[in-house]
Amino acid sequence: MSSSTLARARQLAQVLRTFRAQILLWLVYQCSKLVFFYLSRQQGLLQGVSVVNLGTLSFGVWLLTLRFAVLFYLPFTVVYRVAKRLWLATPAR
């Protein structure tokens, strides 16, 4: 592996470390979305009886909170931090 590749990998790792909270949030959201999808598909309306499990409903509320965070907070924080990093990277004189 050449030294330039290693340097790039190190740089990438550093960037990932900077955004580790955001990446974690996104991963938790994706996993929760998958779980909720399967949970919600197992319930529903069979034999004319509507079945909604309270646990699934609570999980849905948790997922919606995560969804709001991913859709609104995530782009805000990523753009804010990247812009700040770029503008304030060189010492202001």
Binding site: S40, G44, Q47, P75, V78, W87
Partner: protein, 387 residues
Amino acid sequence: MRVAWKRLTVRGLCLLLGMLAARLFAPWVCGRDARAWLDGDAALQNGLAQELIAFEAADDAERARTQPTAAGDRFAGEWALVTHQMTAIGLAQLGLAHPELRTRYAPLATQAALKSLLPEMRDFGTRAWHGEDALHSLSSNHGHAYLAYAALAVSMARLVDPAFPAPRATSHDALIAAYERRLLASESGLIETYPNEAYPTDVAAVAAAIAVHGRATGVNHTRVLQHWLVRVRTRQIDSNSGFVFQRMNALSGRPHDVPRGSGTGLAAYYAGFVDRGLAEQLAQALFRHEKSFCGFGAIGEYADGQSGLGDVDSGPVLFGVSVSATGFALAPARALGHRDSFEHLYRTTVLFGLPTTFGKGFWFSSGGPIGNALLFAFLTSGPELAP
């Protein structure tokens, strides 16, 4: 000091950029499919159709395995009926929009429509009328308007399915004739859903069932439909808000509830089966009560000066807007070409509906079967409009 000010200004600009990113990102993500739904994207439409067909098959298998039982309460019963009804209507609308798919979807529309008429599906209404079954009391003057939802689904199935079973068509003809007689006899243009309860939205479903029956069979229903249209315009619409009254007295025609967005949204969809002008009038009232924020739109449940927390018809009312009114308004928005409103409402639907695509399937995770069946009918609406 100058350095501190410069850093502060840069931070402020970064903050603004971040807020701009949030403002653009969320509506973009939630609205990506809006235009595809508007333009009748086959992949999306078939994706949702396939999942509802799979649900109906699972429901059939479950019903074959165990003894079918009626729903425990009225609302569960209504939800069951509406799930099969809207699935049937959505499939029929796809059949009308894409004639090449009609042979595939028409028999499935028929199955779902006939299921919505089963005794265990209409049991909640039979109990409300103290044991009087709607299909066994056609000579009665009682309204039984709740069954118009199923009657409309059957009308739509008959419109697209040339192989619709003849004996079921005969009993459907009799039900439509009973509705026609009851509606013509009503001076208020209302018939009761349950004893002493009449809902203009349910009567709009009655009119829609009659109108589509006419298109499917060639029977002329102009007189009863004109009778209904005149009374909706003169007695059932609130002149200030443009909304229809949620609940009224069928005999006196007096409102028993305020005019509301949820009832108007569904009435606008059903009115489209009968008369485009009335559907447009109700849609205009809905969009006058649209509230927008950051590219997301929702429909207010109550007119100016009125408020409430909502009920089983509207779902929860938050910040004055209701889940049902917002979802229902998608149908007239798409059918009547209100593209901007459709996009705003669709974004909100996606924000809370959590759609998931997997393979060729498409499903709103938080909707359950009834939510997906309703959205299927609304997101494919348009072909059902009266000529």
